[in-house]
Structure formats: C-alpha cells, structure tokens
C-alpha cells in the first residue's frame, strides 16, 4: 500500500486504527491477534507523539504496511527524538496495587503482541518496524 501520512496528534490514532484493521483483515488474523496488532500500533504512535515529538502537533507519522508470505510488516516513521528502548524499564506486572507503576505498559504491550519490534534510524528519521507472524 502507499505510505499514508498522519499529523502527530492523538486524534489520528482512531484513523490509524482503521488502516490497521484493514491490514489485519487482509492478512487474515483472528479477532484477538488483530486486536493485539491494533494495540501495538496505537501504543507505538502514542509514544511517537508523546516522547519522540514531545507533544501533539510537532510532526508527522508515516504509516505503511506490507504482507510478505506469513508476515505482516508495519512500519511507522517519525522525525522526532530517537528512542532507546533499553531506557524504559519493564513494568512490574505481578505486584500488589500500591506498587503498580502507571507507566511502561505501552512498550511492554508492543513486545507482547508482536513477534518482532525493530528500531532503526535513517538520517533524521526514526523507523519502527512491527512484525506479526501468522499462526
């Protein structure tokens, strides 16, 4: 599909989700797996807006997907600050309510729902690749 460019605003998330649903349907994922991909892309885009751009209306998100054999490959590009995933601690999941941190879940969801999450930088562009394998 051709690349679609969205403004880096939270109201773009629902429109991006519509494209993700189209992609997962075309790829033939079941409802739960499709929901997982929708979650991963939503979290990735929210992180781009909040962390890479430092807020809404500061830049764009380029969305693209392709299907190759048993793989759905989604790419998201931005020109914000680059991101070091190792800088985000893994959330503590099995702890009592009082000790629950309210952050870090987004990145955790991306890794849990997708088979592969890759971060690359090309010049000033950050390229995030999310890969889902069928079956």
């Amino acid at each position: 599909m051709p690349t679609v460019i969205f403004p880096g605003r939270y109201d773009s998330l629902a429109k991006i989700a519509d494209l993700v649903k189209k992609a997962t349907q075309e790829f033939g994922l079941d409802r739960l797996a499709a929901y997982g991909v929708e979650t991963a892309v939503d979290e990735a885009c929210s992180n781009i807006i909040e962390h890479a751009y430092g807020g809404e209306g500061k830049g764009e998100i380029e969305f693209n997907y392709r299907i190759k054999d048993d793989f759905l490959i989604i790419t998201l590009q931005d020109t914000g600050a680059s991101f070091n995933p190792k800088s985000v601690p893994k959330p503590k999941i099995n702890v009592p309510l009082k000790q629950r941190q309210e952050t870090g879940l987004g990145l955790y969801f991306m890794h849990q729902w997708m088979d592969e999450v890759k971060y690359d930088t090309a010049g000033k562009t950050n390229v995030l690749t999310l890969i889902k394998r069928k079956g």
């Binding site: 109201d11 998330l13 989700a17 929901y35 939503d42 979290e43 929210s46 309210e102």
Partner: protein
C-alpha cells in the same frame, strides 16, 4: 468515545462506548475524577460498549482504583468486559487488581 454516568444510591456506574486511547482517556479521567472528588468511591466501570483500550485508558483505571481503595473507602469494579479487552487486562496483570462481573447488574449488586 461516549461516556454515560449514572449516580445510584450505592455506587456510580460509568458506561463507555467506543475507543479509550490517548485522545479520549483524558475525558474519562475527568469524569472519574469528578466522581471521586465528590466523595464517591464505589464505581462500576461497564465495558460492554468499549471497542478498544490502550495503556492510556488502563492508567486511568489503575489510578482510580488506587484512589478509591485508599483508606478502604471503596473500589472500582469492572463489568461486561469484552474478550479482547480481557486479554489486555490479563497481559497487563490487572485481573487480580479488580473484581470482574459478567454484567452491570451483578457489579452493582456487589456494593
């Protein structure tokens, strides 16, 4: 996202329809904060009409639960959770932190 808030004698019921993401979670936070600020800490969150919830929405749930459970003054319970959203709650480790009911009526009956 559409939020319906019903104030009952024993608790408050919030019905949400649509997506809870970074765009809409602040509105949900606003509604629950108003309830808590009014001194009402027993909240039923009916998720029957929720299509999607991201970590931004889950942060609202956990923050409200922490607030309501303080001093044992109440709690947030969940009702009619769709299968997809239940999978997210399980992945996030939220299922031990909330009572979960099959529908709104049984959730209200908990209080």
């Amino acid at each position: 996202m559409v939020i319906e808030h019903t104030e009952l004698k024993r608790c408050d019921v919030i019905n949400v329809k649509g997506r809870i993401d970074s765009a809409t979670a602040p509105k949900l936070a606003e509604v629950v904060n108003e309830i808590v600020e009014a001194g009402r800490f027993r909240i039923v969150f009916d998720m029957d009409g929720v299509d999607f919830i991201s970590s931004a929405g889950l942060r609202v749930l956990i923050g409200t639960q922490k607030n309501c459970k303080r001093y044992n003054r109440g709690e947030v319970v969940l009702a009619a959770v769709p299968e997809t959203i239940m999978a997210s709650l399980e992945l996030a480790g939220f299922t031990p932190l909330f009572k979960i009911f099959k529908d709104g009526v049984s959730a209200v009956g908990n209080f």
